[in-house]
């Protein structure tokens, strides 16, 4: 068995080892397959492990390296896909009994782009049911566990992606984010996750939850690793109607430019209501670190932020529209919680949906105004650390209020980066949000902060 250090190395470090022949993609892939075999029966991060495919990918990477092809920093890097990304010839379940046998004949655009970059696909990672429900005990697919505390949820809906990264089973993962499903698990698992600008990364070949809120994006253990993945994923795709033709900049090179002179805005209203004291402490210490690094920090106003809850009316309505036929024909194939949530969408009127979209426009104008004054916004990512399974299985638990949804409403790029731990050893996270298509600044702030701290170097004991 390879050392723990190998499994928590960065993508840059692995690439360097490949180039000096200190490690081979096949060796690395085999080590990861062994680790998955050892850890995943407990963590349940994977729905499907694609060992043959992974070894074939690794062999191709090794051949490319052998002929001196080092053009892609992702060459030979083992990753996983959230199981709502269609994979040609490979089971794609959406975490749902409805799709328990679905083998797509197409590949998602994101999958195609990561394959072109030379990655090694280790398998498909569990998602909350259709990225919205929770797998209760007895579900067709067991829920992933949080590697920091097996009694706790890893967050969702990219639950397997978060758990697999925290457990050192993959170097990167595809997530998706409709109301925080990349940033939430990143926050609760102590890793980094980026929801790019709406339209930046293609959603083609990805199961829909809510058309106007769905985003795809990368999850990894460091901000730099997220930048490498984003570089491969970003760009126009005619197969996604929302895809943008905005040029793709270099996301990696500017990471080291620091934050001196950058302006960080803190919207104090809404984002701190009900925030856990230890989460708030970690956040305030992160602000102090950013100040020490040369950024200026000031409070900003988002006048209509208290209306951000309208986000849920949009998500419920669109999710019901997407699932309506299956719900009416096969209600028994949906988990009870998901079925209730989807049916709630049927109870929202057309007029209420339109007003929710108008509120969205107000919120977008507010945030654009705030981002003319500052370069990024900073908030805690999740108001509370990871909840226990016992808490979320309680019928009265409800849908937790989050700090991430407002940035799905506005489509702005938003990054989660670890900023501390609670006394019980649970990760807490800083959320950094920027202007449309300014992932470069968002990543730069996150990377600079991350490199000044050691939160990302801590790993769970497994």
């Amino acid at each position: 068995m390879a050392s723990e250090e190998l499994f928590y190395a960065t993508i840059r470090d692995i690439g360097a080892r490949f180039r000096r022949r200190a490690l081979s993609p096949i060796e690395l892939t085999r080590a990861h397959l062994e680790r998955i075999e050892k850890l995943d029966p407990t963590l349940h991060a994977f729905v499907t492990v694609t060992a043959d495919r992974a070894l074939a990918d690794a062999k191709a990477a090794e051949t490319a390296l052998g002929r001196g092809d080092i053009s892609s920093p992702l060459l030979g890097i083992p990753i996983g896909y959230k199981d709502i990304y269609a994979t040609r010839g490979i089971l794609t379940t959406g975490g749902s009994a409805l799709l328990k046998d679905w083998i797509p004949d197409e590949e998602s655009t994101c999958g195609v782009r990561l394959q072109r970059a030379g990655t090694v696909m280790l398998g498909k990672l569990i998602t909350h049911e259709f990225a919205f429900g929770i797998q209760f005990p007895g579900h067709r697919f067991p829920a992933a566990k949080n590697p920091w505390d097996l009694e706790r949820m890893p967050g969702g809906s990219s639950s397997g992606s978060g758990a697999a990264l925290a457990a050192g089973m993959v170097f990167g993962a595809l997530g998706s984010d409709t109301g925080g499903s990349i940033r939430g698990p990143a926050s609760l698992c102590g890793i980094a996750g980026l929801k790019p600008t709406y339209g930046r990364c293609s959603r083609a070949g990805v199961l829909t939850l809510s058309w106007t809120l769905d985003h795809t994006g990368p999850m990894a253990r460091t901000v730099e690793d997220c930048a490498y993945l984003l570089q491969a994923l970003a760009g126009y795709d005619a197969a996604d109607p929302a895809s943008s033709r905005e040029p793709v900049p270099d996301y990696v090179a500017p990471l080291g430019r620091g934050v001196r002179g950058l302006r960080v805005g803190v919207p104090r209203e809404y984002f701190f209501e009900g925030v856990d004291a230890e989460v708030e402490k970690g956040f305030e210490q992160a602000l102090a670190t950013l100040r020490q690094l040369g950024a200026t920090v000031e409070d900003v106003q988002i006048p209509n932020i208290q209306s951000a809850g309208a986000f849920m009316a949009i998500m419920l309505s669109e999710a019901f529209a997407y699932h309506e036929r299956d719900l009416r024909e096969h209600p028994e194939l949906f988990g009870e919680l998901l079925r209730d949530r989807l049916l709630a969408g049927a109870l929202i009127t057309g007029s209420e949906y339109v007003q929710a979209q108008r509120i969205r426009a107000l919120l977008q104008a507010d945030m654009n105004a705030a981002l003319r004054r500052v370069d990024v916004l900073a908030t805690p990512t999740s108001p509370k650390p990871a909840a226990t399974f016992a808490q979320v299985y309680d019928p009265d638990y409800g849908f937790p209020r989050g700090n991430t949804g407002p940035f799905n409403m506005t489509g702005l790029p938003s990054l989660a980066v670890p900023c501390g731990f609670t006394g019980a050893g649970l990760p807490v996270s800083l959320q950094i949000t920027g202007r449309p298509f300014d992932e470069t600044t968002v990543l730069r702030v996150g990377h600079t902060y991350e490199q000044a701290t050691d939160w990302h170097k801590r790993h769970p004991t497994l």
Binding site: G309, D340, G398, P436
Partner: protein, 64 residues
């Protein structure tokens, strides 16, 4: 929103939700619709529901 309103909406939408799950749905809807019902639509006559994404960056130095 009352449970009776939830039942009325279910009837109009032709969907069924188990009686013991109605309270969960009521709370979810109440939270989602609160800002919508609080909004005076007449105060924003020119506001349209379409979403656009501004790609032109504001003027400024953006730091180093």
């Amino acid at each position: 929103m009352t449970l009776e309103e939830v039942r009325d909406r279910m009837k109009a939408a032709r969907v069924e939700i188990a009686e013991n799950r109605l309270e969960v749905v009521r709370r979810l809807l109440t939270d989602a619709l609160r800002p919508i019902h609080a909004m005076d639509s007449r105060a924003h006559r020119t506001l349209e529901p379409a979403v656009t994404f501004e790609t032109v960056r504001a003027r400024g130095d953006h730091g180093q």
